[in-house]
Symmetry: none
Protein backbone atom coordinates (compact mmCIF):
# COMPACT_ATOMS: atom_id res chain seq x y z
CA UNK A 1 0.00 0.00 0.00
CA UNK A 2 1.46 3.29 -1.08
CA UNK A 3 0.70 6.47 0.79
CA UNK A 4 1.48 10.05 0.01
CA UNK A 5 1.93 12.38 2.96
CA UNK A 6 1.82 16.07 2.08
CA UNK A 7 3.02 17.99 5.09
CA UNK A 8 5.43 20.87 5.41
CA UNK A 9 6.19 20.55 9.09
CA UNK A 10 9.28 18.35 9.09
CA UNK A 11 8.79 16.76 12.49
CA UNK A 12 5.23 15.70 11.92
CA UNK A 13 6.04 14.45 8.45
CA UNK A 14 8.89 12.32 9.77
CA UNK A 15 6.78 10.93 12.60
CA UNK A 16 3.96 10.00 10.25
CA UNK A 17 6.33 8.42 7.82
CA UNK A 18 7.99 6.31 10.46
CA UNK A 19 4.75 5.24 12.07
CA UNK A 20 3.03 4.34 8.85
CA UNK A 21 6.03 2.49 7.51
CA UNK A 22 6.06 0.43 10.67
CA UNK A 23 2.51 -0.57 9.72
CA UNK A 24 3.78 -1.86 6.42
CA UNK A 25 2.91 1.05 4.17
CA UNK A 26 5.26 2.54 1.62
CA UNK A 27 5.29 6.23 2.38
CA UNK A 28 6.36 9.15 0.27
CA UNK A 29 6.48 12.65 1.64
CA UNK A 30 5.99 15.90 -0.22
CA UNK A 31 6.75 19.19 1.46
CA UNK A 32 4.84 21.71 -0.60
CA UNK A 33 1.48 22.00 -2.29
CA UNK A 34 2.73 21.90 -5.85
CA UNK A 35 5.08 19.00 -5.12
CA UNK A 36 2.20 17.11 -3.51
CA UNK A 37 -0.09 17.72 -6.44
CA UNK A 38 2.52 16.53 -8.85
CA UNK A 39 3.24 13.41 -6.84
CA UNK A 40 -0.46 12.62 -6.48
CA UNK A 41 -0.94 12.89 -10.21
CA UNK A 42 1.79 10.49 -11.15
CA UNK A 43 2.60 8.33 -8.18
CA UNK A 44 -0.17 5.73 -8.15
CA UNK A 45 -0.87 5.99 -4.46
CA UNK A 46 -3.58 4.19 -2.58
CA UNK A 47 -4.32 7.19 -0.41
CA UNK A 48 -3.07 10.62 0.49
CA UNK A 49 -2.74 12.30 3.86
CA UNK A 50 -2.88 16.00 3.29
CA UNK A 51 -2.24 18.98 5.47
CA UNK A 52 -4.36 22.07 4.83
CA UNK A 53 -1.71 24.65 5.52
CA UNK A 54 0.91 24.24 2.84
CA UNK A 55 3.38 26.50 1.12
CA UNK A 56 2.57 27.22 -2.50
CA UNK A 57 -0.87 25.70 -2.71
CA UNK A 58 -3.34 24.97 0.09
CA UNK A 59 -4.65 21.49 0.75
CA UNK A 60 -8.12 22.57 -0.32
CA UNK A 61 -6.95 23.86 -3.63
CA UNK A 62 -4.86 20.77 -4.12
CA UNK A 63 -7.81 18.41 -3.74
CA UNK A 64 -10.06 20.55 -5.86
CA UNK A 65 -7.48 20.55 -8.61
CA UNK A 66 -6.99 16.81 -8.35
CA UNK A 67 -10.71 16.07 -8.52
CA UNK A 68 -11.09 18.39 -11.45
CA UNK A 69 -8.56 16.23 -13.24
CA UNK A 70 -10.56 13.07 -12.53
CA UNK A 71 -8.26 11.61 -9.90
CA UNK A 72 -10.26 9.74 -7.27
CA UNK A 73 -7.46 8.99 -4.88
CA UNK A 74 -8.81 8.75 -1.30
CA UNK A 75 -7.79 11.83 0.67
CA UNK A 76 -7.52 12.24 4.42
CA UNK A 77 -7.22 15.90 5.40
CA UNK A 78 -5.43 17.29 8.42
CA UNK A 79 -5.92 20.79 9.77
CA UNK A 80 -5.32 22.97 12.78
CA UNK A 81 -8.66 23.67 14.45
CA UNK A 82 -8.04 27.33 14.87
CA UNK A 83 -11.15 28.15 13.00
CA UNK A 84 -9.98 29.83 9.88
CA UNK A 85 -10.98 26.81 7.88
CA UNK A 86 -13.47 24.32 9.20
CA UNK A 87 -14.46 20.77 8.61
CA UNK A 88 -17.25 21.50 6.19
CA UNK A 89 -14.90 23.28 3.87
CA UNK A 90 -12.60 20.31 3.81
CA UNK A 91 -15.21 17.75 2.91
CA UNK A 92 -16.79 20.18 0.54
CA UNK A 93 -13.81 20.42 -1.71
CA UNK A 94 -13.54 16.70 -2.23
CA UNK A 95 -11.64 15.17 0.68
CA UNK A 96 -12.93 11.80 1.88
CA UNK A 97 -12.25 12.25 5.56
CA UNK A 98 -11.08 14.91 7.93
CA UNK A 99 -9.04 15.14 11.11
CA UNK A 100 -8.26 18.17 13.24
CA UNK A 101 -4.89 18.72 14.89
CA UNK A 102 -3.89 17.68 17.40
CA UNK A 103 -5.04 14.17 16.60
CA UNK A 104 -4.29 10.78 18.04
CA UNK A 105 -2.18 8.53 15.89
CA UNK A 106 -4.50 5.62 16.57
CA UNK A 107 -7.45 7.57 15.29
CA UNK A 108 -5.56 8.51 12.19
CA UNK A 109 -4.71 4.89 11.53
CA UNK A 110 -8.29 3.83 12.02
CA UNK A 111 -9.60 6.49 9.67
CA UNK A 112 -6.95 5.67 7.14
CA UNK A 113 -7.80 1.98 7.18
CA UNK A 114 -11.44 2.82 6.72
CA UNK A 115 -10.57 4.94 3.73
CA UNK A 116 -8.45 2.26 2.18
CA UNK A 117 -11.17 -0.31 2.67
CA UNK A 118 -13.56 1.84 0.71
CA UNK A 119 -10.80 2.34 -1.84
CA UNK A 120 -11.25 4.13 -5.08
CA UNK A 121 -14.72 3.15 -6.26
CA UNK A 122 -13.67 1.61 -9.55
CA UNK A 123 -10.92 -0.50 -8.05
CA UNK A 124 -11.98 -3.76 -6.43
CA UNK A 125 -10.91 -4.12 -2.83
CA UNK A 126 -9.87 -7.71 -3.32
CA UNK A 127 -7.29 -8.50 -5.93
CA UNK A 128 -7.62 -11.75 -7.84
CA UNK A 129 -5.21 -13.29 -10.28
CA UNK A 130 -5.74 -16.89 -11.24
CA UNK A 131 -6.43 -18.79 -8.03
CA UNK A 132 -4.59 -16.20 -5.98
CA UNK A 133 -6.60 -13.80 -3.92
CA UNK A 134 -5.30 -10.90 -1.90
CA UNK A 135 -7.36 -8.72 0.40
CA UNK A 136 -5.45 -5.55 1.23
CA UNK A 137 -7.82 -4.46 3.97
CA UNK A 138 -7.72 -7.75 5.86
CA UNK A 139 -4.10 -8.38 4.95
CA UNK A 140 -4.99 -11.84 3.78
CA UNK A 141 -3.80 -14.02 0.95
CA UNK A 142 -5.33 -17.26 -0.23
CA UNK A 143 -4.23 -19.64 -2.91
CA UNK A 144 -6.93 -21.96 -4.19
CA UNK A 145 -8.93 -21.06 -1.08
CA UNK A 146 -6.12 -22.12 1.21
CA UNK A 147 -4.72 -19.39 3.40
CA UNK A 148 -1.09 -18.41 2.91
CA UNK A 149 0.71 -16.56 5.67
CA UNK A 150 3.08 -13.88 4.47
CA UNK A 151 5.40 -11.55 6.29
CA UNK A 152 4.86 -7.81 5.91
CA UNK A 153 7.46 -7.47 3.21
CA UNK A 154 6.29 -10.49 1.27
CA UNK A 155 2.76 -9.16 1.41
CA UNK A 156 3.80 -5.76 0.17
CA UNK A 157 5.68 -7.30 -2.72
CA UNK A 158 2.86 -9.58 -3.78
CA UNK A 159 0.38 -6.77 -3.39
CA UNK A 160 2.35 -4.64 -5.77
CA UNK A 161 2.78 -7.38 -8.33
CA UNK A 162 -0.90 -8.29 -8.25
CA UNK A 163 -1.93 -4.81 -9.24
CA UNK A 164 -0.24 -5.25 -12.59
CA UNK A 165 -0.53 -8.91 -13.52
CA UNK A 166 1.14 -9.96 -16.76
CA UNK A 167 3.30 -6.90 -16.87
CA UNK A 168 7.01 -7.02 -16.37
CA UNK A 169 8.03 -4.97 -13.38
CA UNK A 170 11.64 -3.97 -13.02
CA UNK A 171 13.64 -4.52 -9.89
CA UNK A 172 14.23 -0.83 -9.44
CA UNK A 173 10.54 -0.17 -9.51
CA UNK A 174 9.99 -2.87 -6.91
CA UNK A 175 12.83 -1.55 -4.78
CA UNK A 176 11.31 1.85 -5.00
CA UNK A 177 7.70 0.94 -4.26
CA UNK A 178 8.06 -1.97 -1.88
CA UNK A 179 11.27 -1.04 -0.12
CA UNK A 180 11.28 2.71 -0.60
CA UNK A 181 14.94 2.30 -1.44
CA UNK A 182 17.14 4.42 -3.59
CA UNK A 183 18.71 3.25 -6.81
CA UNK A 184 21.99 2.46 -5.14
CA UNK A 185 20.76 -0.38 -2.94
CA UNK A 186 21.58 -3.86 -4.08
CA UNK A 187 18.78 -5.41 -6.10
CA UNK A 188 19.57 -8.80 -4.62
CA UNK A 189 17.02 -8.25 -1.90
CA UNK A 190 14.28 -8.41 -4.51
CA UNK A 191 15.57 -11.73 -5.75
CA UNK A 192 15.58 -13.05 -2.22
CA UNK A 193 11.97 -12.08 -1.61
CA UNK A 194 10.80 -13.36 -4.96
CA UNK A 195 12.39 -16.61 -3.82
CA UNK A 196 10.37 -16.54 -0.59
CA UNK A 197 7.14 -15.91 -2.46
CA UNK A 198 7.82 -18.67 -4.93
CA UNK A 199 8.30 -21.07 -2.07
CA UNK A 200 4.95 -20.13 -0.62
CA UNK A 201 2.90 -19.62 -3.76
CA UNK A 202 4.36 -22.15 -6.16
CA UNK A 203 7.34 -22.15 -8.41
CA UNK A 204 5.91 -20.92 -11.71
CA UNK A 205 3.68 -18.16 -10.44
CA UNK A 206 6.39 -15.55 -10.65
CA UNK A 207 8.26 -15.48 -13.91
CA UNK A 208 11.76 -14.12 -14.19
CA UNK A 209 12.43 -11.96 -17.20
CA UNK A 210 16.19 -12.04 -17.29
CA UNK A 211 17.88 -8.69 -17.36
CA UNK A 212 14.60 -6.87 -16.85
CA UNK A 213 12.48 -7.88 -13.90
CA UNK A 214 9.61 -10.09 -12.83
CA UNK A 215 6.12 -10.84 -14.05
CA UNK A 216 3.15 -12.33 -12.24
CA UNK A 217 1.65 -15.06 -14.41
CA UNK A 218 -1.99 -14.33 -15.23
Amino acid sequence: MRLLVVEDEARLAAALQRGLEAEGFAVDVARTGPAGLDAARHGEYDAMILDVMLPGLSGYELVRQLRAEQHWLPVLMLSAKDGEYDQADGLDCGADDYLTKPFSYVVLLARLRALLRRGAPERPTVLEVGDLRLDPARRRVTRADAEVTLTAREFALLNYLMRRPGQVISKIELLDHVWNASLETAPNIVEVYVGYLRRKLGRDRLETVRGVGYRLAM
Copy 2:
Protein backbone atom coordinates in the same frame (compact mmCIF):
# COMPACT_ATOMS: atom_id res chain seq x y z
CA MET B 1 8.92 7.21 -26.78
CA ARG B 2 12.69 7.49 -27.17
CA LEU B 3 14.88 8.52 -24.27
CA LEU B 4 18.54 9.36 -24.01
CA VAL B 5 20.25 8.69 -20.68
CA VAL B 6 23.63 10.38 -20.23
CA GLU B 7 25.28 8.94 -17.14
CA ASP B 8 28.81 7.73 -16.54
CA GLU B 9 28.17 5.64 -13.44
CA ALA B 10 27.63 2.20 -14.92
CA ARG B 11 25.34 0.77 -12.26
CA LEU B 12 22.96 3.69 -12.21
CA ALA B 13 22.91 3.86 -15.99
CA ALA B 14 22.05 0.19 -16.25
CA ALA B 15 19.37 0.45 -13.60
CA LEU B 16 17.75 3.41 -15.30
CA GLN B 17 17.88 1.74 -18.67
CA ARG B 18 16.19 -1.38 -17.40
CA GLY B 19 13.57 0.40 -15.44
CA LEU B 20 12.63 2.74 -18.23
CA GLU B 21 12.63 0.03 -20.82
CA ALA B 22 10.28 -1.96 -18.64
CA GLU B 23 8.01 1.08 -18.79
CA GLY B 24 8.00 0.82 -22.55
CA PHE B 25 10.51 3.48 -23.46
CA ALA B 26 13.27 2.97 -25.97
CA VAL B 27 16.40 3.91 -24.09
CA ASP B 28 19.86 4.76 -25.37
CA VAL B 29 22.74 5.33 -23.00
CA ALA B 30 25.75 7.58 -23.45
CA ARG B 31 28.66 7.39 -21.03
CA THR B 32 30.45 10.69 -21.57
CA GLY B 33 29.57 14.32 -22.14
CA PRO B 34 30.71 14.51 -25.75
CA ALA B 35 29.04 11.22 -26.63
CA GLY B 36 25.83 12.46 -25.03
CA LEU B 37 25.91 15.72 -26.92
CA ASP B 38 26.47 13.93 -30.16
CA ALA B 39 23.63 11.52 -29.53
CA ALA B 40 21.28 14.32 -28.54
CA ARG B 41 22.04 16.18 -31.73
CA HIS B 42 21.27 13.33 -34.06
CA GLY B 43 19.08 10.92 -32.18
CA GLU B 44 15.53 12.31 -32.40
CA TYR B 45 14.76 11.68 -28.75
CA ASP B 46 11.63 12.70 -26.89
CA ALA B 47 13.58 13.57 -23.77
CA MET B 48 16.99 13.36 -22.18
CA ILE B 49 18.02 12.39 -18.65
CA LEU B 50 21.32 14.01 -17.94
CA ASP B 51 23.82 13.67 -15.14
CA VAL B 52 25.72 16.81 -14.17
CA MET B 53 29.02 15.15 -13.37
CA LEU B 54 30.31 13.72 -16.61
CA PRO B 55 33.72 13.02 -18.05
CA GLY B 56 34.71 15.28 -20.92
CA LEU B 57 31.90 17.79 -20.72
CA SER B 58 29.65 18.66 -17.80
CA GLY B 59 25.90 18.37 -17.99
CA TYR B 60 25.58 22.12 -17.72
CA GLU B 61 27.85 22.75 -20.64
CA LEU B 62 26.11 20.07 -22.61
CA VAL B 63 22.70 21.67 -22.25
CA ARG B 64 24.02 25.13 -22.92
CA GLN B 65 25.67 23.91 -26.07
CA LEU B 66 22.54 22.10 -27.17
CA ARG B 67 20.32 25.11 -26.61
CA ALA B 68 22.77 27.33 -28.43
CA GLU B 69 22.32 25.06 -31.42
CA GLN B 70 18.54 25.45 -31.28
CA HIS B 71 17.73 22.00 -29.95
CA TRP B 72 14.73 22.13 -27.63
CA LEU B 73 14.75 18.56 -26.43
CA PRO B 74 13.25 18.33 -22.91
CA VAL B 75 16.03 17.79 -20.38
CA LEU B 76 15.79 16.32 -16.89
CA MET B 77 18.97 16.97 -14.93
CA LEU B 78 20.42 14.81 -12.17
CA SER B 79 23.01 15.97 -9.69
CA ALA B 80 24.58 15.17 -6.38
CA LYS B 81 23.32 17.69 -3.89
CA ASP B 82 26.70 18.38 -2.39
CA GLY B 83 26.38 22.01 -3.06
CA GLU B 84 29.05 22.88 -5.56
CA TYR B 85 26.40 23.40 -8.16
CA ASP B 86 22.86 24.10 -7.20
CA GLN B 87 19.42 23.85 -8.65
CA ALA B 88 19.29 27.39 -9.90
CA ASP B 89 22.35 26.81 -12.05
CA GLY B 90 20.75 23.80 -13.60
CA LEU B 91 17.54 25.47 -14.57
CA ASP B 92 19.48 28.53 -15.52
CA CYS B 93 21.48 26.88 -18.23
CA GLY B 94 18.42 25.50 -19.97
CA ALA B 95 17.32 22.28 -18.29
CA ASP B 96 13.56 21.78 -17.99
CA ASP B 97 13.53 20.00 -14.67
CA TYR B 98 15.96 19.04 -11.97
CA LEU B 99 16.44 16.19 -9.52
CA THR B 100 19.05 15.81 -6.77
CA LYS B 101 20.67 12.50 -5.94
CA PRO B 102 19.72 10.33 -4.27
CA PHE B 103 16.30 10.43 -5.83
CA SER B 104 13.41 8.02 -5.85
CA TYR B 105 12.68 6.22 -9.06
CA VAL B 106 8.98 7.07 -8.85
CA VAL B 107 9.75 10.72 -8.60
CA LEU B 108 11.97 10.48 -11.60
CA LEU B 109 9.25 8.71 -13.57
CA ALA B 110 6.68 11.25 -12.52
CA ARG B 111 8.84 14.19 -13.50
CA LEU B 112 9.75 12.54 -16.75
CA ARG B 113 6.11 11.92 -17.62
CA ALA B 114 5.31 15.51 -16.81
CA LEU B 115 8.07 16.63 -19.16
CA LEU B 116 6.89 14.37 -21.94
CA ARG B 117 3.31 15.43 -21.52
CA ARG B 118 4.28 18.94 -22.44
CA GLY B 119 5.87 17.51 -25.56
CA ALA B 120 4.34 15.23 -28.13
CA PRO B 121 1.44 12.92 -27.27
CA GLU B 122 2.36 9.37 -26.39
CA ARG B 123 2.66 6.82 -29.14
CA PRO B 124 0.89 3.47 -28.83
CA THR B 125 2.94 1.16 -26.69
CA VAL B 126 2.45 -1.95 -28.76
CA LEU B 127 4.38 -2.23 -32.00
CA GLU B 128 2.86 -4.20 -34.88
CA VAL B 129 4.39 -5.16 -38.18
CA GLY B 130 2.62 -7.77 -40.26
CA ASP B 131 1.68 -10.59 -37.91
CA LEU B 132 4.46 -9.63 -35.54
CA ARG B 133 3.55 -7.89 -32.35
CA LEU B 134 5.88 -6.53 -29.69
CA ASP B 135 4.76 -5.13 -26.35
CA PRO B 136 7.58 -3.33 -24.55
CA ALA B 137 5.75 -3.04 -21.25
CA ARG B 138 4.84 -6.71 -21.06
CA ARG B 139 8.08 -7.62 -22.69
CA ARG B 140 6.25 -9.98 -25.00
CA VAL B 141 6.54 -10.88 -28.63
CA THR B 142 3.98 -12.82 -30.61
CA ARG B 143 4.05 -14.05 -34.16
CA ALA B 144 0.64 -14.87 -35.56
CA ASP B 145 -0.64 -14.90 -31.97
CA ALA B 146 1.92 -17.48 -30.91
CA GLU B 147 4.27 -16.37 -28.19
CA VAL B 148 7.95 -16.17 -29.04
CA THR B 149 10.51 -16.12 -26.25
CA LEU B 150 13.47 -13.86 -26.86
CA THR B 151 16.55 -13.12 -24.84
CA ALA B 152 17.20 -9.56 -23.74
CA ARG B 153 19.52 -8.81 -26.63
CA GLU B 154 17.27 -10.36 -29.23
CA PHE B 155 14.37 -8.38 -27.85
CA ALA B 156 16.31 -5.13 -27.97
CA LEU B 157 17.30 -5.74 -31.56
CA LEU B 158 13.81 -6.60 -32.73
CA ASN B 159 12.43 -3.66 -30.80
CA TYR B 160 14.76 -1.34 -32.64
CA LEU B 161 13.99 -2.79 -36.03
CA MET B 162 10.24 -2.71 -35.48
CA ARG B 163 10.25 0.99 -34.87
CA ARG B 164 11.35 1.55 -38.44
CA PRO B 165 9.84 -1.23 -40.54
CA GLY B 166 10.75 -1.31 -44.21
CA GLN B 167 13.76 0.89 -43.70
CA VAL B 168 17.26 -0.35 -44.15
CA ILE B 169 19.22 0.00 -40.95
CA SER B 170 22.98 -0.21 -40.99
CA LYS B 171 25.00 -2.50 -38.81
CA ILE B 172 26.82 0.41 -37.28
CA GLU B 173 23.58 2.00 -36.25
CA LEU B 174 22.43 -1.26 -34.70
CA LEU B 175 25.73 -1.71 -32.92
CA ASP B 176 25.42 1.78 -31.61
CA HIS B 177 21.85 1.61 -30.37
CA VAL B 178 21.32 -2.01 -29.45
CA TRP B 179 24.78 -2.80 -28.17
CA ASN B 180 25.91 0.66 -27.13
CA ALA B 181 29.18 -0.41 -28.67
CA SER B 182 32.07 1.56 -29.96
CA LEU B 183 33.21 1.45 -33.56
CA GLU B 184 35.86 -1.10 -32.76
CA THR B 185 33.56 -4.00 -32.02
CA ALA B 186 33.14 -6.51 -34.76
CA PRO B 187 29.93 -6.14 -36.73
CA ASN B 188 29.72 -9.89 -36.86
CA ILE B 189 27.75 -9.86 -33.63
CA VAL B 190 24.89 -8.22 -35.48
CA GLU B 191 24.91 -10.95 -38.09
CA VAL B 192 24.85 -13.54 -35.35
CA TYR B 193 21.83 -12.03 -33.68
CA VAL B 194 19.99 -11.48 -36.92
CA GLY B 195 20.55 -15.19 -37.39
CA TYR B 196 19.01 -15.93 -34.00
CA LEU B 197 15.98 -13.80 -34.78
CA ARG B 198 15.49 -15.39 -38.17
CA ARG B 199 15.47 -18.77 -36.52
CA LYS B 200 12.75 -17.70 -34.12
CA LEU B 201 10.65 -15.47 -36.35
CA GLY B 202 10.99 -17.07 -39.76
CA ARG B 203 13.57 -16.93 -42.44
CA ASP B 204 12.28 -14.17 -44.71
CA ARG B 205 11.24 -11.68 -42.08
CA LEU B 206 14.60 -9.99 -41.94
CA GLU B 207 16.08 -9.08 -45.28
CA THR B 208 19.78 -8.62 -45.82
CA VAL B 209 20.78 -5.63 -47.88
CA ARG B 210 24.28 -6.51 -48.85
CA GLY B 211 26.90 -3.96 -47.97
CA VAL B 212 24.35 -1.78 -46.21
CA GLY B 213 22.41 -3.43 -43.43
CA TYR B 214 19.10 -5.11 -42.65
CA ARG B 215 15.47 -4.40 -43.24
CA LEU B 216 12.37 -5.68 -41.47
CA ALA B 217 9.85 -6.84 -44.07
CA MET B 218 6.55 -5.02 -43.74
